[in-house]
Each structure stands twice: as C-alpha cells, then as structure tokens.
Subunit: 152 residues, 2 copies
C-alpha cells in the first residue's frame, strides 16, 4: 500500500463503496422477498421498463451483469405470470424480444415506488448537501485506462 495518505483514503473510499453496495443489496434483497418478489426479477423488470419496444435475451443479460448468469428462466416465469410477453422480430423468425405487458408495467411501477422509498429510508441520514457532494465526487470515477468499456 502506498505511503501517500490520499491514495490510502481513495482505497478506503473504494472499500466503503464495496461494503455499502453489498449491504444495501442485501437489504433490498430481503425487502423484495417481503414484497413477494426477488431482486433479480426486479432488475429484469427495470431493464425491460427502459425498453418499451422489447429487448433480446443477450442485451438483457448484458445489462444485468451482476445479477448475472441466465436470465431466460426469470423471463420465462415473468411470462408465465403475464408480466412479460415475447414479441416476434420482423424478418427474423428465430428471434423474439421480451417486453413488459401492461400488467407487468403496472407491477413494476408499484415496486419501483417502494424501492425508491426504501432507498430514501436507507440513505435518509445523508443530508441534501451531502448527497450532492457524494454525487459530485463519485461522478469522477472510475477513470478507465483499458480499452474495454463495461457494458453495465
């Protein structure tokens, strides 16, 4: 570890971010279960809500990196519950896109409102000026020097 105190505090900030993100995700996971769903299902619905024309499985999977792995079973279950529908791609009979049904969009809006409330509660001790200071600082990282741009 560098003897430079700024470098050491940047490392402390990274370890803090990592822990805070993990703890917040664990708490969100517990609350989503209490709300009768799961965090990966919510993440899938959130991604689909941003793509009203639908998303292919590859695109959906790339946008969800961390929830990771195989999104197809999640989409299958959402489809069986009438929250997602698969629509044909014109000119390509083998491909289909998944998109939220009206019921799925309504369910997502209700969950998103609860999710926003939970975050407001979990982050509620961070005052307005501090939120802005943290946003301003964190907008500057990470500075990437490798060629590859993460897709998430």
């Amino acid at each position: 570890m560098s003897g430079d105190p700024v470098a050491r505090r940047r490392l402390r900030l990274w370890l803090r971010l990592l822990r805070l993100t993990r703890e917040t995700e664990a708490e969100l996971r517990a609350r989503m279960r209490e709300a009768g769903t799961t965090l990966p299902r919510f993440d899938v619905m959130a991604a689909l809500a941003r793509a009203p024309d639908g998303m292919g499985m590859g695109e959906l999977s790339a946008s969800l990196k961390v929830s990771g792995g195989n999104v197809t079973p999640l989409v299958d279950r959402l489809e069986a519950e009438g929250l997602v529908e698969r629509v044909a791609v014109a000119g390509d009979r083998r491909r289909s896109l998944a998109r939220l049904t009206e019921a799925g969009a309504a369910r997502f809006r209700a969950l998103a409102a609860r999710h926003a409330g939970w975050i407001d509660e979990m982050f509620g001790e961070i005052g307005e000026a501090e939120v802005d200071a943290a946003l301003a600082a964190l907008a500057k990282a990470p500075k990437r020097t490798t060629a590859e741009e993460p897709a998430a």
Copy 2:
C-alpha cells in the same frame, strides 16, 4: 417514485454507487487477470490475510458474499500452488482452517500494493477534499431497520 427531490437524489446516488461498484469491479477483474490471477482469488487471499490464525470455510465464505458460492475449489487451488495451507483444529479432527503460507502472504502483499495503485488511478480524479466528503456522507448509510445484519 416520490416527488420529493431529496428522495430522488438519494435514489440517483444509489444507482450511481451500484454502477460505479460494478464498473470498478469489472476493471479490477480485468487487471487481476492481466496480473495472472483473478478477483475471487485476490478476495480469498485478502480475507485470509486478515486472519493470521486461519479461517474455516464457512467463515471465509460468509466474508466473501459477493464473489459468492463455493470457495473450496479456490482454496484447493491456492493450496496446490503453495500459497495456502490447511491447519488442523485442536480437539476437532474433522475441521481444518485455511491460512496463507509465507509465500502466500508475500504474494498477497505484492498484489495488494498493485490493487491499491489501481484504485488510486481509477479514483485519481477525485480530489482529497472530495474523497473526505464522500467518505463522510457514505458513512451514514445504509440505515438498517430489519433485524438481520449482513455479515459482509
């Protein structure tokens, strides 16, 4: 979503944290590969470096939540490479603890120094005062209201 602008900015902060953590982990993963190792291996070594007397597999697994799943194959490989050793637990023939060998501790120190340098570079645009402001703000979250305390 709440109409309250502070609540909306707290949500924006959380989404920023999530994306920053994922991007930084993706970058660290790429750099660890370039350094001839992997992020999960580094995480295992970092956990063992904090436990000089050794750790059981359950304890190690709990401390690594996100890298997740089964740490045993990682520890087996580190052991095969002479970086980790398993030591018997007095009075319990069925249990053993994993700990870093001297070579493992030296390898970890070298990697940790590189890791700290990468973080300093990736977070290098965040100035000293901003690092402290972000640390102060983020120390206040998450406020947990459920009984369960995440182990990580």
